[in-house]
Symmetry: C2
Subunit: 342 residues, 2 copies
């Protein structure tokens, strides 16, 4: 039982879970309920890569050296400044006899738990990576625990596309679940042209909602409008509560039943609360969300709204997100354009 969340892999401090640990044991020998993956590529979290690139002024060799140092020191790709990780793809190498995960050796998979808790060992010095992109070709091994999440890569989608979808696949599944709890819902998605935002818009519409996508400038507005993924598109700074709530109200005629925050900048809590109807729900997917700003903000505004910490796990979330991509060609086109631009 203890092994199922990876406790036996924690080296220091003792007694914490792998994500909270400073250092993991990344050795390739697996326990009875573990799975070993032969790593092919890391996909660094955007915030993590941005921090590293900024610190080293875009010097690819220096960025690569620091990524290697982090993994070597911590036994996982857990950026100590941003606290974030990313995910990886690879091929299943060995499956412990007691593993509950639905994979077999040879399956090409993506890990759907964060790299911040995945034991990782790099064996090629990241020699094939120039340090200039979040996509990191890599050789090495990673370990999955009994209680992990892994997605077999679909045959009909390129790996890059599946990975980009898996990276944010908790968002559409949770939006679907929340929106279906309301009758005649309206949904505002802050950052509607982004990856999690566009998936959230597609999920909200299929769940029966009238939707508005909020974007920061005309270029994204044009992209989102031409995709047809949102019923309305409005331009507003999500950090400006007054402008944001005015934009949502202008589009929907009233505050939104559900507001989904997919904008990865600090300071969007008050606007999201103010843009949401009494009895409505705010779902915070941005890692830049401040817990206290949300809690005190709602109290200060006397706002009776349910505020959800966006859980990256909902059962079936990966299949749900890939299904959306298959059903909504405009969504797939938007993802493909994003990947091509990266």
């Amino acid at each position: 039982m203890a092994g199922s969340v990876g406790l036996t892999r924690v080296l220091e401090p003792a007694g914490v879970l792998p994500q909270a640990a400073w250092r993991l044991d990344a050795s390739p020998e697996i326990g009875p309920d573990e799975v070993r993956i032969r790593v092919q590529r890391l996909n660094l979290d955007a915030a993590s890569y941005r921090q590293l690139a900024g610190k080293h002024d875009g010097d690819g060799a220096a960025i690569r050296a620091e990524v290697l140092e982090i993994i070597g020191t911590r036994g996982k790709m857990h950026n100590p400044v941003t606290g974030s990780g990313g995910m990886l793809i690879g091929v299943v190498d060995e499956v412990g006899p007691e593993s509950p995960l639905p994979v077999k050796p040879g399956d090409r998979v993506a890990t759907l738990v964060s790299l911040t808790l995945t034991p990782l060992r790099i064996t090629d010095g990241l020699a094939s990576w120039d340090g200039l992109s979040e996509q990191v070709p890599a050789e090495g091994t990673a370990i999955l625990f009994g209680r992990s999440i892994v997605g077999v890569l679909p045959d009909d989608l390129p790996a890059e596309l599946a990975l980009a979808v898996y990276d944010v696949c908790g968002a559409p599944a949770l939006v679907d679940r929340v929106v279906r709890g309301y009758s005649h819902p309206t949904v505002a998605v802050l950052g509607g042209a982004g990856k999690s935002g566009s998936l959230a818009l597609a999920a909200a519409r299929l769940a029966g909602a009238t939707t508005v996508g909020i974007v920061p400038h005309e270029r994204e507005a044009a992209t989102l409008r031409s995709s047809g993924l949102a019923d309305q598109v409005e331009i507003a700074d999500a950090r400006d509560p007054i402008a944001l709530s005015a934009a949502v109200t202008a589009a929907l005629g009233k505050p939104a039943t559900v507001t989904v925050v997919c904008v990865d900048v600090p300071g969007c809590e008050h606007g999201a609360i103010l843009a949401t109807a009494e009895g409505g729900t705010v779902i915070f997917f941005s890692m830049a969300t401040s817990f206290s700003a949300a809690a005190l903000g709602a109290e200060g505004l006397a706002a009776d709204v349910t505020m959800l910490v966006g859980n990256g796990f909902v059962p079936g979330h990966a299949e749900f997100a890939v299904g959306l991509l298959r059903r909504v060609p405009a969504l797939r086109a938007l993802f493909e354009a994003r990947i091509a631009a990266d």
Copy 2:
């Protein structure tokens, strides 16, 4: 409309809500939908007072000087280090002709919105305060906006008691609402012997739940056991996920349907998630909650739990909490003992 959330009181930076503002206009002249309160006492947030007392090594005069400086500079008692405030009691002085608040001049009231967004002016130099307690006798004026929350102090409870209850009154109301959404619920309250924790336990039981209170040591366990407020009492460090989930499972026979976090220390997110059943809910009331630790933790544990940011406002929350105190004598006794010990 703009005045209703206090925008006209924001001096800098422009365009943000009062809580996010660095500085407010605390002048005593009221706008048409504002209310002026003649201040009698401030009740500083525990985290704020602890920080100030620690910084000044318990020197009351220095603590008082800094509180005066904060209020003078910011136009509100908004501790810039902790980001927290507190609340106040006073007497309604003047009510603007367009105010929607249900108060009249002469009413003795407590403000139920945070001091972090309440324009405040002190006129007595806090001369009656020794700086050695969170309870601050004060003279001055405070302003309430149209969209504020204020509670008239009940006749049958001492002001100190009502204030202590109002300070955490969002917790029991939200616990009641969430617990009633489940059939045969079990509820674990981390920090069950504290103010918000004991109210949460009482609310959970009255909503039909079997309850366990988790406390950090034997002294609190004895207090909580003798109160009878919880069906079970267990001792565990809420920051230790394994110990905590074992304690909850030992008491309830399985993970909790609803876990309520009332422990004001960092690092309780993973334990709360691990102690909660699939499909259950974690309600985070602690301001020490880390948004990213909660979001990534649930994903890393593949935990299908709903995670709520504890909103300090639920309609009717003050009356609900005071009603609990009237219905449950052990709860009132516990609060009175806490106040006497402060």
